[in-house]
């Protein structure tokens, strides 16, 4: 067991407490797979964006440590960041170690959301690396007495070509000292962290590592049970906490009967504050038993509609803001049109459905708050926690440790607030792990949406007008000031940022209007992958398909008539060619065998990046079950950093989209969420997983882009269009459960 070297801020040599982790760069503070954590690195004195030293340090042995405020949710970002930095610096991949998310060690880079890690997240790291390389070359030039433009760099060694003995390593040049160099940092007001500018230019070609499928650094640990998750953090003296949930959302805690858990061994304390009620015990199973057994009296609650009434509720809910994008005069065109098509599309409330529930360890003692968390927005969670606990921000340290994939949910890491409250009450470190019922019942959710679409068609089949009007709560209110514990205790400030309620389409119509009504919150909400985009794309791409069928045109050809963006057209052509698309008029209603209809659908998505899908499905006409057999997906990705990792991301996101389309709907009665386990809120299982063929369209001249959301967007529409192709029936309400499909088939 190696001891921590005390942080020497002049020399910047860092040793972290490492036990059994010599095979991968550590991504966070000292963690052990085998023994409890007993020390964390001291916080750095300065982590401001303008200082090059805040971002990277180089030790005498050439090891490069990179500090980033972004975090890895299991999408391979730790690896791709290391590829990008190693390429800018010209050092070996193995020489780069990432420190991620610890608020005591890393610069504030805002939230790891919006698929922005590869672009906004990586930009400062690349800039710092390029600047460092430039400085090192200048130092080398002095030492080797050779002009910079006559030097070569490889694997962290600067040499003079033709004179092999005249060389020096990065480590020898910098000797663990600080760079003492300032860069220019600007902060776009989007919560995504700073943009950094130096004097060195970033690489645009000649990449050694970028573009290669470097094996991810975390897979070995994950596959052998040695990888540190926030769920495996163990702190000396740590005890266990669980929260008791009210029977209704917004209920008031009236009375707690402490005697009801008198017989629970290991009980340390019952903690109640406002409507927050929790238990702390020595052992984990004792906390679960105590939470289950504790008797409490609650009254009242905030009524909500039943989930079956959600669309009606959305249309009539209090409106906060309406945003309209208008072109031409849709109303006039619709009045003149030979035919008007109308359709309403509905999307339910959905869960992020993390496999590993929200989990945090908090140690609140002597006015200091230290928390281990899988948060996606470490600095905001830190600020929130400070405000919640009534302490200065400087007293709070949030140490990021990888959680299970959260897809947006851990923008609001509820376990952090629960654990901090309980730790403060008992004066010991407390670990809180949400139960499955806690997650399904109480996680901040992806809001529901209803959309009305209309199109005006001329006699020659031309689309004269297109309109979408939608109603939805904001998808981002949960990201600040909304810990569940804060709401229960009272006084949570909340957050009013509006997002996800408006959409765009990829088409050129003479008259077009997109209207988004933001309404008040229904259930506590936070963004789930592709917030607003997946819902809007479902409606738009289904409706485009409805129009194509109306004018008896091949769905692909119909799209090309109106598609303005050449990149979207490229992805469509690529997907169609790969899938062997044959022009036809939908529906075809091909029956493979008695009672099973087969269909093929197409759809595309536009925006910063573009995708297109062709899906082959079959529908059991008796049971209503939709099976997706195969999906071909083509996407533009900018410069691909790690092709294998990119492909896996795409496939994963697409499968998540298939799951949401076929299976997922949060159900609630007038008081609380009612589907609280995996049977009642199912997600896709192995027998139903389709084949996927992925075509990544590399665009080396363009910036890299994240793929975690792009590939999820087209899933619902491509399936809906394929079902129409197979049966002539339009599914306009997600999820496409067998009951819904059967009912639609019977209606004809």
């Amino acid at each position: 067991m190696s001891a921590i070297a005390r942080r020497d801020f002049l020399s910047h040599s860092v040793s972290l407490l490492v036990i059994g982790f010599n095979f991968r760069p550590l991504s966070s503070a000292a963690l052990s797979a085998q023994a409890p954590l007993d020390r964390v690195p001291l916080p750095r004195s300065s982590v401001v964006a303008e200082e090059l030293d805040s971002w990277l340090t180089i030790a005498e042995d050439g090891k490069v440590t990179v500090y980033t405020g972004r975090i890895d949710m299991g999408t391979g970002v730790e690896t791709s960041f290391a590829q990008l930095v190693a390429d800018e610096l010209d050092v070996p991949f193995q020489a780069v170690k990432m420190i991620m998310g610890d608020t005591g060690l890393t610069p504030d880079q805002g939230k790891s959301t919006g698929s922005s890690n590869s672009s906004r997240g990586a930009q400062p790291l690349r800039t710092a690396a390029a600047e460092a390389r430039q400085i090192l070359l200048k130092l080398a030039s002095e030492q080797l007495k050779t002009p910079v433009d006559r030097l070569a760099v490889q694997d962290g060694i600067v040499s003079v070509p033709g004179n092999p003995s005249n060389k020096v390593t990065y480590g020898e040049l910098i000797r663990g000292r600080r760079f003492e160099t300032r860069l220019r940092a600007t902060e776009p007001p989007d919560g995504r962290g700073p943009h950094l500018e130096g004097t060195a230019r970033l690489k645009t070609s000649n990449f050694r590592l970028v573009g290669k499928s470097i094996p991810r650094v975390d897979v070995l640990g994950k596959v052998t049970g040695t990888f540190p998750y926030v769920h495996t953090v163990r702190v000396p003296g740590m005890v266990h906490g669980r929260v008791v949930r009210p029977p209704a959302i917004g209920a008031t805690l009236v009375r707690v009967d402490e005697s009801s858990v008198r017989n629970i061994p290991g009980l340390i304390r019952i903690v109640s504050k406002g409507n927050f009620l929790g238990v702390v015990t020595e052992r984990e199973e004792q906390a679960i038993a105590a939470a289950r057994q504790l008797k409490a009296t609650w009254t009242g609650g905030s009524p909500i509609p039943e989930y079956t009434e959600i669309s009606r509720w959305l249309r009539n809910a209090k409106q906060i803001k309406t945003e309209i994008t208008n072109k031409g005069d849709v109303d006039a065109a619709l009045t003149r049109a030979a035919k008007v098509l109308k359709a309403t599309y509905e999307w339910p409330v959905q869960n992020h459905a993390m496999i590993g529930p929200s989990c945090a360890v908090a140690d609140v003692r002597d006015g200091q708050v230290t928390v281990w968390s899988g948060s996606q927005w470490v600095q905001q969670n830190r600020r929130d926690l400070a405000q919640f606990m009534g302490v200065p921000v400087e007293s709070v340290r949030l140490i990021w440790v990888e959680a299970s994939g959260s897809y947006g949910r851990l923008g609001c890491d509820d376990a952090v607030a629960d654990a901090a409250l309980l730790s403060k009450a008992v004066g010991k470190p407390v670990r809180v792990l949400w139960t499955r019922q806690d997650e399904q019942g109480w996680e901040p959710k992806s809001p529901g949406m209803v959309m009305d679409l209309r199109a005006g068609l001329e006699t020659d089949g031309r689309v004269a007008a297109f309109e979408l009007e939608g109603w939805s709560p904001s998808h981002s209110t949960g990201e600040i000031g909304n810990y569940l514990a804060w709401r229960l205790v009272g006084g949570n400030p909340g957050w009013d940022r509006l997002s996800g309620g408006t959409g765009e389409h990829a088409y050129e119509f003479e008259n077009s209007r997109m209207t988004g009504h933001y309404v008040e919150e229904l259930l506590r909400a936070i963004y789930l992958r592709a917030p607003g985009d997946i819902q809007h794309n479902f409606a738009i791409e289904s409706f485009i398909d409805e129009m194509a069928a109306e004018v008896k045109t091949d769905p692909l050809e119909f799209r090309f008539r109106y598609l303005k963006d050449p990149n979207t057209a490229l992805t469509l052509r690529t997907a169609a060619k790969t899938a062997g698309w044959q022009a036809h008029i939908s529906p075809r209603k091909l029956e493979k065998k008695s009672g099973v209809a087969m269909g093929r659908g197409v759809c595309c998505s536009s925006g910063d990046r573009q995708s297109a899908c062709v899906a082959d499905i079959e529908v059991n006409l008796g049971t209503g079950k939709v099976r997706v057999l195969k999906i071909v997906i083509a996407l533009t990705c900018g410069r691909i950093i790690n092709p294998d990792s990119a492909r896996h991301q795409v496939q994963g996101a697409l499968l998540q989209g298939v799951s949401r389309t076929l299976l997922e709907e949060v159900k609630f009665d007038r008081t609380h969420v009612t589907n609280l386990d995996w049977n009642s809120y199912p997600i896709l299982r192995f027998p139903d997983v389709p084949e996927i063929e992925t075509v990544l369209i590399d665009q080396p001249e363009a910036d890299s882009t994240g793929l975690g959301e792009l590939a999820t967007i087209p899933a619902p529409a491509v399936i809906a269009n394929a079902v129409f192709n197979a049966t002539g029936v339009r599914l306009r309400k997600v999820p496409f459960t067998p009951d819904r499909v059967k009912a639609a088939l019977m209606r004809g």
């Binding site: 085998q34 023994a35 409890p36 949710m73 299991g74 999408t75 391979g76 094996p215 991810r216 975390d218 897979v219 070995l220 994950k222 596959v223 052998t224 049970g225 040695t226 990888f227 540190p228 998750y229 769920h231 495996t232 061994p265 052992r283 984990e284 199973e285 679960i288 459905a353 993390m354 496999i355 590993g356 529930p357 990888e402 959680a403 299970s404 994939g405 897809y407 792990l433 139960t435 499955r436 294998d644 990792s645 896996h648 991301q649 496939q651 994963g652 996101a653 499968l655 998540q656 799951s659 386990d677 995996w678 049977n679 997600i683 896709l684 299982r685 192995f686 027998p687 997983v689 084949e691």
Partner: protein
């Protein structure tokens, strides 16, 4: 109550409530990180360990029911320096995103392949039907298991078959 456990070929004595779920004893008393809590209801498979050759869900298994039996967890299967062939297959196919479900995938698949060394794709999918993955790593996981099946390893069933035929193992 004192219960003796055999985990990854080592003996332990733990003093716990006999009804305590095996998962929590493995994690909290033995500091093992392989099995994970996902649901506590045997619906997701994240907590899977192998007891006497069978994959079981440790979140619903009282610790007293496995006293004295051979328990294998993910870290007992293989190490970073010497991974088990099935772990090696997962590494080669890069079959992990967040990786939280991977313990369950590997342990379930290992027990399954020990009994069915030459499965069809359909049989693999059925065998893993009780293991959930939210990141959508299913295709890579299937690819890893197929690769592991093709390569094989010395399994109890194979040893039984070969001794029946009088062949050398």
């Amino acid at each position: 109550m004192k219960i003796s456990l055999r985990v990854n070929s080592r003996s332990h004595i733990v003093d716990v409530d006999p009804r305590a779920p095996l998962l929590f004893v493995l994690e909290n008393d033995l500091q093992l990180n392989g099995p994970k809590f996902g649901c506590g209801m045997a619906q997701c498979g994240a907590c899977t360990v192998i007891v006497e050759g069978k994959a079981i869900r440790s979140c619903v298994t009282p610790v007293s029911t496995v006293g004295g039996k051979e328990i294998v967890t993910l870290e007992g299967l293989g190490t970073p320096d010497r991974p088990h062939p099935i772990q090696q297959a997962f590494i080669e196919t890069q079959a992990a995103q967040c990786g939280y479900c991977i313990n369950g995938m590997i342990m379930t698949a290992k027990a399954f392949l020990d009994e069915h060394p030459r499965p069809t794709d359909k049989e693999i999918r059925e065998a893993l039907a009780g293991n959930l993955c939210r990141c959508g790593t299913h295709l890579e996981i299937l690819s890893a298991i197929r690769r592991a099946a093709e390569r094989g390893w010395h399994s109890p069933k194979k040893a039984r078959q070969e001794s029946q035929h009088g062949r050398q193992a």
